[in-house]
């Protein structure tokens, strides 16, 4: 699969923006990060389900193919503020 314009549109409509340095879609309001790999490897339906998931934890959620190591999460979260 690929990161198609349709998937891009689904994410943008849900408030995600593309972070070129991290090559990931980030939604500050929902505190969610989706890697390009995860977008490529999953269907549009998966994306819609991910978007629909509530995140009341106050922590950032990472939707990656491989869960990122703790040090990487900390650096990413620090960068996002």
């Amino acid at each position: 699969m690929d990161t198609t314009p349709e998937k891009d549109e689904i994410l943008r409509s849900a408030g995600f923006r593309y972070h070129f340095d991290r090559m990931a879609y980030v939604n500050r309001k929902a505190k969610k990060v989706v890697s390009v790999e995860a977008v490529e490897d999953h269907s549009e339906e998966w994306l819609r389900q991910m978007i629909a998931q509530t995140n009341d934890s106050g922590d950032w959620r990472f939707y990656f193919d491989q869960p990122p190591p703790q040090s990487v999460i900390q650096a990413f979260v620090a960068e996002l503020g």
Binding site: T3, P5, F20, D21, S35, P69, Q70, V72
Partner: protein
């Protein structure tokens, strides 16, 4: 107190340890490619060209390329020992720029003795039945006798030159900007550029062919 070495520091150090092998691989590989392409180059028509461009990836580009291969685009300090620049396939690269593109198959065939045992990794065309944008191979240079994996690309002159300009104008000073290209919006623009360059080349070649048919005295139709 001294700061602990970061993953990047360790990789920069590794890079400079690899430089002698990289240089040796580059010299040997370029010599092999030039040798194999000599008969093709000698037989070219006046307007045709085959250019061989070689390069070593610079240190920061190499470190950034490895960083971009990680899903979070960052190195994990707890996995520092697992990263190595030697896993990159393009620390040493040879690009063969071919005009017209119809000569690509001939160049590819001439390089077969060198590339037969290498892995093929073509840059795919836009549609499933399109020819690849570029032929790409990676493997070890037997002549160099190093463990490094190198890359050989065969690409049309215009598209290869566009890649050079794109790299020099956009990424040379800021390698992380290459992440912009993973965006579907940029991919779509990129595709339009390559498609236009390919059309330009095809039309150019068609017109040259047309003239050569007019000039050919053996053709009774003209």
């Amino acid at each position: 107190m001294t700061e602990p070495r970061t993953v990047r520091d360790r990789l920069r150090s590794e890079y400079f340890d690899l430089v002698p092998s990289m240089q040796r691989t580059l010299v040997a590989l370029e010599a092999d490619v030039r040798h194999l392409l000599l008969p093709v180059m000698i037989a070219l028509d006046r307007y045709e060209q085959v250019r061989i461009v070689s390069r070593l990836k610079d240190c920061e580009s190499a470190v950034d390329a490895l960083r971009r291969r990680q899903e979070a685009r960052d190195f994990a300090s707890e996995e520092a020992e697992t990263y190595s620049l030697s896993t990159l396939h393009d620390l040493v690269g040879i690009r063969v720029l071919v005009f017209p593109a119809s000569r690509i198959a001939q160049v590819n065939q001439a390089l077969e003795p060198l590339l037969a045992d290498w892995s093929s990794d073509p840059v795919p065309g836009f549609e499933s039945n399109d020819p690849p944008i570029a032929l790409k191979y990676f493997g070890r240079s037997a002549s160099a006798g190093t463990a490094l994996i190198a890359e050989v690309q065969i690409v049309s002159s215009l598209i290869g030159s566009f890649w050079d300009v794109e790299h020099a104008a956009v990424y040379k000073t800021t390698p992380n900007l290459q992440g912009v290209m993973a965006s579907p919006r940029m991919k779509s623009r990129y595709r339009e550029v390559l498609s236009a360059l390919r059309e330009f080349e095809n039309e150019f070649e068609r017109l040259i062919q047309e003239t050569s048919e007019i000039d050919a005295p053996s053709n009774p139709a003209t």
